[in-house]
């Protein structure tokens, strides 16, 4: 075989180099030389035999991709690119996740500090964290929409039942992946969300030792500590991504085997013509699908990076504390529906009492729903995929979505959760966790003193705004017996604890309260912010103080 030097002797340096580069390109693309690549990007017709088909036969990366698609499935409708987008998000999460792994140690001793170090000590660290977090939420949304689309176009029907089945597994893996990442920052949000979710396992209706042991397996100890954190970490970075990776390949293999289903109206009822693509309707992967995917990659990346850089900040709360449950612990939005169901009452017709809602939800409704979804394509075997023939099925589907949205709202504290009125008012401007109107007041505007709701302080607009919000919340949770025109008149009623008062918005409110914000300087750069609530109600006197501290450099304004 001729070496490069032999070729130089024979052809000269220039020609030999061109020939060598051409050779390298052909090897890398598994069959296309420089001219083929250039012709492809120019949009020329391929030469015969078509070199653009060879990579599908010989290269690793393209051998699983079809060499052509039906033109009907290459538009936005019917796929909306959601399956591709799900895969993209998985890759996105892997890349940003590996970056974060470098700066994270799964130990309760340092995990929380690591989060702050990622934000203060790692260049682009906060951006990576935001990108990972926003990616997780987008991925859940995209996967759910992908499932909805598959349902609406009837693409789960024969022969694609098993594809749907693997899709269900991927949906569950996505939810668990997203949720297992929740614990890792080791803040209050993480700790309590996971504690609540894991405690559902304990409620299982079988023998007691079963629940105890499931719990031990998940938490690594009776309460979540170093062992539990390590387990969730390994689930999050190792086991679940591995399983998801495997099932993504199975899922995609099935997609390729059966072809992308055409829009329902495009084929005769009961037929599946996805694999019989007439020559005139073929769109070849190289170059059209590839450039399309490159474009969507660029656009999605831009959207996610832009969103993380300018519009989205992943939260971090205080250090996890097993002894303090923050007011209003909520599940992440994509699991909020289950929290809503936990608030329901399930009457027991046999005893006249009620079932434990945890048991009913975690071991009744959710498994039944999951099973129903999984076996749906094997049970719902109507032959037509056309919308007009599936009025009942689509109506049930739409009703289910509405039901889930309402359930999600029920999961929020607005539904059936109210602590005492003074706590709700305090929570409005100075919550135990999360963004606080009062803490975000710039440090320079703070000064020792007693401030009343609605007080106007010239030159201190943020504090004035916070005091105005204080008044708004106070009015919502107060009433008057003394004709104070700030508040609604009290509507007294009798309860177990004596006379209570309600207004039009809430059943338990403060009668003619005194409320104030007391700011005290406790150190040269630390103020104490104390909310004080008092009522003279003889049967239920309130004297409530809620305190937080504000350090000059705590950076609440930016975070």
């Amino acid at each position: 075989m001729a070496t490069f030097f032999d070729e130089v002797k024979e052809m000269g340096v220039k020609q030999a180099t061109i020939a060598k580069v051409d050779d390298v390109v052909e090897r890398v693309t598994a069959g296309m030389n420089i001219n083929d690549v250039r012709a492809m990007l120019r949009g020329d017709e391929p030469r015969r035999p078509n070199p653009r088909l060879r990579p599908h036969a010989d290269s690793f990366w393209l051998h699983i991709r079809p060499s052509f698609y039906h033109t009907e499935v290459t538009h936005i409708y019917p796929t909306f690119r959601l399956g591709w987008l799900s895969t993209f998000m998985f890759v996105w999460e892997t890349i940003t996740g590996i970056f974060l792994m470098v700066f994270y140690t799964p130990s309760p001793e340092v995990a929380y500090q690591d989060m702050w170090n990622i934000m203060s000590g790692v260049p682009l660290g906060q951006l990576m964290r935001d990108m990972h977090r926003i990616g997780a939420e987008v991925m859940v949304l995209v996967v759910a929409l992908h499932m909805l689309r598959t349902f609406v176009t009837g693409s789960y029907k024969k022969p694609r039942q098993f594809t749907w089945f693997t899709g269900m597994i991927l949906l569950v893996l996505t939810l668990v992946l997203s949720f297992s990442g929740y614990l890792l920052p080791w803040d209050q949000l993480a700790y309590w969300a996971v504690t609540v979710a894991v405690s559902a396992a304990e409620s299982q209706p079988g023998p007691e030792f079963l629940g105890r042991n499931i719990n031990l397996l998940l938490r690594g100890a009776p309460v979540i500590g170093a062992g539990g954190l390590l387990r969730f970490y390994l689930l999050h970075v190792l086991l679940l991504p591995l399983l998801a990776g495997i099932f993504i390949f199975v899922h995609y293999y099935k997609v390729v085997i059966h072809g992308h289903s055409l829009p329902p109206g495009r084929e005769a009822i009961g037929e599946d013509t996805a694999k019989r693509v007439p020559k005139a309707e073929r769109v070849y992967f190289l170059p059209d699908i590839m450039t399309s995917e490159v474009m969507w990659t660029a656009l999605t990346t831009l959207g996610l990076i832009g969103g993380s850089a300018f519009f989205f900040d992943a939260v971090i709360e205080s250090h996890a504390d097993p002894l303090i449950t923050p007011l209003h612990v909520v599940a992440p939005w994509y699991l909020s529906w289950s929290q809503g169901w936990l608030k329901w009452i399930f009457p027991n017709p046999f005893t006249g009492g009620e079932f434990d809602s945890k048991v009913v939800v975690a071991f009744g409704i959710i498994p039944i729903l999951a099973l129903a979804f999984t076996i749906m394509p094997y049970v719902e075997v109507g032959r037509s995929r056309r919308y007009a023939d599936r009025r009942v099925g689509l109506s049930v589907g739409m009703f289910f979505i509405a039901f889930m949205l309402v359930s999600n709202w029920m999961g929020s504290p607005e539904y059936k959760v109210q602590s005492s009125a003074e706590q709700e008012v305090a929570q409005h401007i100075l919550p135990q966790e999360g963004h606080s109107i009062l803490l975000e007041v710039p440090y320079e505007e703070l000064a020792a003193g007693t401030y009343l709701p609605n007080q106007v302080l010239p030159g201190r607009e943020h504090l004035t705004h916070a005091l105005a919000e204080f008044e708004v919340a106070l009015r919502e949770y107060s009433c008057t017996n003394e004709g104070d025109d700030r508040f609604e008149p009290c509507q007294p009623y009798q309860s177990d604890q004596g006379t209570r008062f309600s207004n039009s918005a809430h059943t338990e409110v403060l009668p003619d309260p005194y409320a104030a914000l007391v700011i005290t300087q406790v150190q040269h750069n630390v103020y104490e912010l104390e909310l004080v609530f008092k009522t003279d109600d003889p049967e239920n006197p309130v004297d409530f103080h809620f305190t937080k501290y504000r350090h000059e450099d705590a950076a609440y304004e930016v975070y």
């Binding site: 702050w116 906060q126 474009m295 990076i305």
Partner: protein, 290 residues
Amino acid sequence: MQVKLVITTIAFMLTMIVFGYAALREPARMELFEGAYESRQVEFGASIYYSNCATCHGQEGKAELCYDAEGEQIGCAGRSLHNAELLCGEPSPRLVAMGWENGTKAGFINATVNAGRAQNGMPLWGADYGGPLEDYEVENVTNFVLNWETVELCSEPTAPAPVWPDDVADLPSGDAANGEQLYQVTYGCAACHGQIDQEGTNAVGPWAGAFKNRADAQPGYTAAEYLYESILLPSAYISPECPTGPCAGPPSAMPNNFPLRMTIQEMSDMMAYLLETSEFESNGNAIVYP
């Protein structure tokens, strides 16, 4: 396809611009976060301090303003933390005094909070030692205490610790009215030793009303010498007359930091109140405070 390639190129360039903008902004952003973690530790430490420590160490950490759960002012049982002795200098005078001159202030405070100081009545707090606070909480409260260090605090001339006379006869004459205030409120002695006019009101230590008759407790001591020694060196002699029998110790359960907190005049005032005399009788016994 050409349109797609153009869109791709533009999107890629915009991504790089956003990324570049974020990268340029990074130093400023990281600086904003620079002290944020430590600041939040101080804030969290403040809430721990005010719910656990202020009862003994005072509202401003100066062991001056202490309140019980009902909001009544009581004597401060703890040391002052907000002072130059503890916080100023590397090592600070307090560290040198405690043999910690090769360590850090943070380490010293952390260790003290964690393990307590049993002989002085400081409870242990660290969870590893059987207390209620986790490591990160001890670290937070340590950072809160260290945050009292300011340029002003450390540039003030420090008041020298009193040099206690060896003979009670050398104490100035006392003012019993001020002594009562010191006994009842400032140093909170009544919480343990009770009221001098009511026998049996002492909760922990010997009854204060008996001090003026205690000339015989230590051989050859006058009542004044005995009382003076008991305040300066609580463990020198353990009284057999606590409410539940002989008092515990040595070391005595009584805080041994009064010589650091009181002035010589306050000592005289307090003794004048307890002994009901403004001049102190001496048998010439030398009471040497180290």
